[in-house]
């Protein structure tokens, strides 16, 4: 039996790696990957705590919901990224600094 805290340590590390990607990357797709890391860290926590809820199954259910929501978010975000590329010819978040001109 793996202790609960080890799951939490892994998810904390994964969350910080995602945070680093979001803060430093100069490409919108890599920023999106960082956000996915953070979401996955949260899902790992849900699942790790869900082990202690044999009758309710709440942790696993909400892990599933979180995965589906993340997938929906990625679909919309990638469509937006493609539009940004069409407009600015780059997807560097530093250079895309104007609203509709």
């Amino acid at each position: 039996m793996i202790p609960l805290s080890h799951f939490l340590f892994i998810s904390a590390c994964l969350f910080c790696i995602g945070l680093y990607a979001v803060l430093t990357k100069r490409n919108a797709i890599q920023v999106l990957i960082g956000i996915e890391f953070m979401i996955n860290a949260a899902v790992l926590n849900f699942v790790a705590f869900g082990r202690f809820d044999a009758n309710g199954g709440g942790g696993q259910m909400f892990a599933l919901f979180a995965i589906v929501l993340a997938a929906a978010g990625v679909a919309v975000a990638l469509a937006i990224i493609l539009n940004v590329y069409k407009h600015f010819k780059t997807i560097d978040p530093v250079k895309t600094d104007t609203l509709k001109d």
Binding site: Y20, R26, I33, G56, A79
Partner: protein, 177 residues
């Protein structure tokens, strides 16, 4: 050390190492394919928390869907990024040091909280009836979806429809006015 623990820590190391490589590697295509490795080994970790259905969903949705979408978006948006891989050095460095500092400090806070909170000695965790290897979690999830979590399930289906329509609307070709 039992074989269960050895496999668990192997996959945990794989998650962390490949995630670190994803954020540190310069080649974008490689980083997206390494992201695939991270997601796969993360699914293996879910199995160790007795969440086999979540692990399968992770593989199907992330590896099958999200990753292909990302590769598509990458290839549609990256003509010039492939040719010049190393952009300016000087400005980025300072930026990176600050980010590393923020992330490590945040990591220390998180680890500190986890150690201090000491979840294993909480009363509800001690008294909880844990899932053991013999429970059929897929059966359980099916029943829960149709009873206790029916409303979130329906709301989620409407949201997925909205996301589908929204993504299709955003990605369509704009008419010249």
């Amino acid at each position: 050390m039992s074989s269960e623990q050895i496999i668990f820590y192997f996959f945990a190391a794989m998650v962390l190492i490949s995630a670190l490589l994803v954020v540190s590697i310069h080649n974008l295509v490689r980083s997206i394919f390494l992201f695939f490795v991270t997601l796969f080994s993360l699914a293996a970790l879910y199995v160790f928390a007795f969440a086999d259905f979540v692990a399968i969903t992770q593989v199907v949705i992330y590896v099958g869907g999200v990753l292909v979408l990302m590769l598509f978006a990458f290839m549609l948006s990256n003509k010039e990024l492939l040719s010049k891989i190393n952009p300016v050095k000087g400005i980025i460095r300072v930026n990176h040091i600050v980010a590393i500092l923020v992330c490590t400090l945040f990591l220390f806070i998180l680890l500190n909280v986890i150690i201090k909170a000491d979840f294993e000695s909480l009363s509800w965790i001690k008294t909880a009836d844990q899932i053991n290897g013999k429970d059929n979690t897929v059966h359980q999830i099916g029943i829960q979806t149709m009873t206790r979590y029916l409303l979130p399930f329906e709301v989620l289906s409407v949201l997925l429809l909205m996301a589908l329509i929204g993504a299709a609307h955003l990605a369509r070709k704009e008419k010249k006015v």
